[in-house]
Assembly symmetry: D2
Homo-oligomer: 336 residues x 4
């Protein structure tokens, strides 16, 4: 159960609500985000919610039977958009396109890609500086200095930045050079990292785990929300299956289901979701028509020379064509 | 390697080609379909194909390195459409919509659904009379008498029929009452059944196995083709995964990959692919924009009362809406 | 619910039982096997079973809530052994070792292997003559003539035969040359074949499907049992997973779970279960200590020259060593 | 390629080796552990290793083609045991049994379990104080104070401790109260944590990821080893599959394969591997006979009252019986 409190609730009023709920057998967790304050009550379902709703200082009460609460679509049905500076919305009416290289490599690379993104109207650029690689001997990214360079060039062009954070200690050093923190598929259940990101006032995009269930993804988002950060984006990026004809199995089913189960924006990552360059656009369009709020994909001036993920990265021509198609599709989206 | 022979090839010419290929270390299988004749040569890749191409009676020679040959997109790149009477094409320019109940139940049920399909412009009706059920105690279908009733009503309305065949001995009794034979997901690797369907002059739709790989699906199609039947349709219907939020994991990746790897038409089954009624349209549209040649879905006047699969079956209103959306999407498909 | 009838039940007594159960809302299926007769009652659970138990002609009544009934361990807790001629038991106190080549290839091959099996004390030989192969161009087995040769040699040596049946029409021609029919992993849900094997008076070993659940395997066995054949053996042979370090994922968990859920003997196939020759013995021993009633594995005089599955086939030396280990392990089995 | 250096190598000698390898096109990483020093050379395989072997200061050179190097069985074939104080070995000749509760709950709980473990001869106790839980509202463990209490009681009884570390910042505070650090299945690819554990001089047990491949597990171990810590233990704990009859699919195949691919000790976790209390002993014994160096399992005085994982936790009687069986099995292990 979620009890949303008025911002003006008095201390003794809140204590009265807590006493009521405790005595009804619930465990209560107080959640204060930058947007609102809540009591999340876990426990027995036999309770007349009107009792809590009638108490002074209570704004509203919602029954949520899911294992996740604050991210559930059961108490908030409309998508909660994430807002960046310059009125850029993710989860608003427009499809949000996010693109960039797998890894940040050099000033020249970043500059050429930023310009391409500006040309096609994209407002958020992805690019990794801390790279989670299976092997300790593989390229691990340019690190914080790479991020500063990435940031400097993006800001020249008015471009927003999303990049992956792998570790709690990186949050502070990255903070001023990031618009959206990304949690990677290998960290979806790194609960300490999630909780730490709950204390940050910047949005977080959280990728589904490599074999994570939809329910686990939502519970991971709940970790961040319940630690104080409501600005969340979910990302479907393909799951691991027995099929070897492609890299991951993009779970198109997850798109309408996440949109229904949660009020958070849902973004698709077709680059990792299929892992084959020529098929990335087909999966991107499929995700959009299935209800995704946006797409994050990999683009590079010369994919063949990229330091990582070249085989699933579009070149500028392919990227331009994809954006044109998305624009055409957008126009009929409310119809279909 | 595929050697396509001229229809006019003389016996001794053909023997000369076989001798050439045998002596080059290939194993040769002769394939005669209603459309053409081929020699499929399996073996060593070191061979100058011009040698075979120059022989009398040879129409063309194609190098195909895949484990499947005749169904491969490497020798025939355009989709090979399946043609039904009345100029109904599957794999042509138009999206092919196929719909109907999970099980044929009664005259009233069939009649109401046929009328609905006519209303929305659908030309092929699905409906099972032999039902593969996990439990021997579950409803097993109306059998051959049900099929005859189904056929009679469909023909009144000029509707084509697709229905599942489970066993070789059923082929003959079903033959005159079927326009397309369907091979179900549990029989995708029932190789005896596949070979027997190669001798039939009616089209066959073959569903991907419950955990079948893309390669296995294509090899299963190769069984039918190499036994003489070129009129084949592939069907993606979701694979088994660890996720329990839905029935099967619809493999959207399989759509563009099958279209690339094979020249056969590819149909999507979103009803089994997600298994949740309200999300079936989203997956249907996603499959179409990803390149599917059509969609097969379950519809019933009263899904709540269906004898099987009610939870994934659209009612008439939902079905009408889906077809309207497909029509709108179709108009911009060449653009996106 | 299972109602076991006395062999001496009179027709009107049985009709009275059926009337009672029908009026209580159950659907009744009569099952007559060579060993006993039953009424399997499907439906509502609210029923006082003593009412049925007290009726004339009723031997016993068992409540079984599983989706499978007659194969359930809930009404018969001790293993129901399968008995071959010469007092060979599968599912008795001794571990049953079954071995032989993947494919029957020649008289010399069969003879050398039969002799090896006699040497190590094995009483049942496996060997395929109808081979389910993914590709239509791969070796498909020697067919019925191969089986007759296989049979002739085995009978000279007093060896029993298990071999795969792929199709209903093969049952009759194979019948006199087979001691145990095997249903392969691709046919576990070929329900027509299962039902046909219910009418046979020879034992059937049924392999778990390639991605079949434990519940599906038991329901498939129920198909055969409810069609009249109680002589059944279950076989775990590995499932399909994301892991590529080996051929299949041998599901060791399935061994104790099948033994608990069912009264049928359970055999392990470590050759397909891991698919790597040098590790086959480790998996065989693990399955035995986990509770398997026996092991079926592949052996060949020269695995490197086998026509199929050579990479997972033991040679005679390895096979001898495995049997010695099984014998040592057997001695302490009741202790551990 | 791994170049093992003499401890006495001089600086200019080492530089000469590095120069040689660099000019041959390799990327070189220097690894210094408490036991030895190495140069790990990544790159082209065309190289006469005798050239490096002949250089002053070089102890030995090993060609390792795996994606992991220092943990590979290709350069070190015998198991590298992990040694705890009091001459307790993991990976030695004896089977190592490790047991304890899922979560540390109270002094009484710890005391009763320590005493039980002493009774059955177990020398290492498991118990979590930082618990990775899918839901933020579930019990998260007693934290560092719980660990201090756990440590105090264990040391009274001469018991060693293994417990999970979830985050880099916990390493230091846990350090003095831990004998073995455990990396949980959700952190197997938390590469920053792995690297930080490379700087610790205590052993690390690393669990296979929830859907981690065998290769990924070995590469994760390589992260720790290459960061300086050779004292590593691998743990198979079941993978995620489509089967719902149990919690995880214990991958028995992984046991012999890990033992072959790596020189690190391999431990089995049957509690998580099947997740059903009554079947835990069967899986434990199966893992041992398949080659595991030991078993880690969950035990509690009253499993029904445990704060977590009660359904897969043995009581003292069951635990005693399991240890007796392991002892009996141990005596014939070299025979089988």
């Amino acid at each position: 159960m979620i009890i949303q409190l008025l911002d003006t609730i008095r201390k003794e009023e809140q204590e009265a609500v807590i006493t009521l709920m405790s005595s009804a057998g619930f465990t209560i967790q107080e959640v204060i985000t930058r947007h609102a304050r809540y009591l999340v009550c876990i426990g027995s379902n036999e309770f007349d919610i009107r009792k809590a709703g009638a108490m002074p200082g209570v704004k509203d009460v919602y029954r949520v039977s899911d294992s996740y609460k604050l991210v559930s679509g059961k108490w908030k049905q409309k998508t909660s958009p994430v807002r960046l500076s310059g009125d850029v919305l993710i989860g608003g009416k427009e499809i949000s396109m996010i693109a960039g290289p797998c890894s940040i490599e050099s000033e020249e690379q970043v500059t050429s890609i930023v310009r391409h993104l500006k040309d096609v109207g994209i407002k958020v650029m992805r690019g990794g500086v801390f790279k989670p690689r299976s092997s300790p001997y593989a390229f691990q990214g340019l690190g914080i200095e790479g991020l500063k360079m990435f940031y400097r060039i993006c800001k020249e062009y008015g471009m927003h930045i999303i990049t992956e954070v792998m570790e709690i200690s990186q949050i502070e050093e990255m903070h001023d050079y990031v618009d959206i923190f990304q949690v990677g598929a290998r960290n979806t259940q790194n609960f300490n990292l999630l909780r730490a990101l709950g204390a940050v006032e910047k949005p977080v995009l959280i990728k589904r785990g490599i074999s994570g269930t939809i329910d686990e993804l939502l519970q991971s988002a709940e970790y961040i929300f319940s630690a104080g950060n409501e600005q969340l984006i979910l990302c479907e990026r393909g799951i691991r299956s027995f099929e070897n004809a492609y890299r991951n199995t993009f779970d198109i089913n997850a798109i309408p289901i996440l949109k229904q189960k949660s009020h958070l924006p849902v973004i698709a990552d077709p680059s990792h979701g299929i892992g084959i360059r020529e098929h990335v656009p087909a999966i991107a369009l499929a995700a959009i028509i299935a209800g995704a709020d946006g797409v994050i994909y990999e683009v590079h001036e010369k994919p063949e020379e990229a330091l990582s993920d070249g085989q699933q990265t579009l070149n500028f021509e392919e990227s331009t064509l994809l954006n044109e198609k998305v624009n055409k599709l957008s126009k009929i989206l409310s119809d279909v």
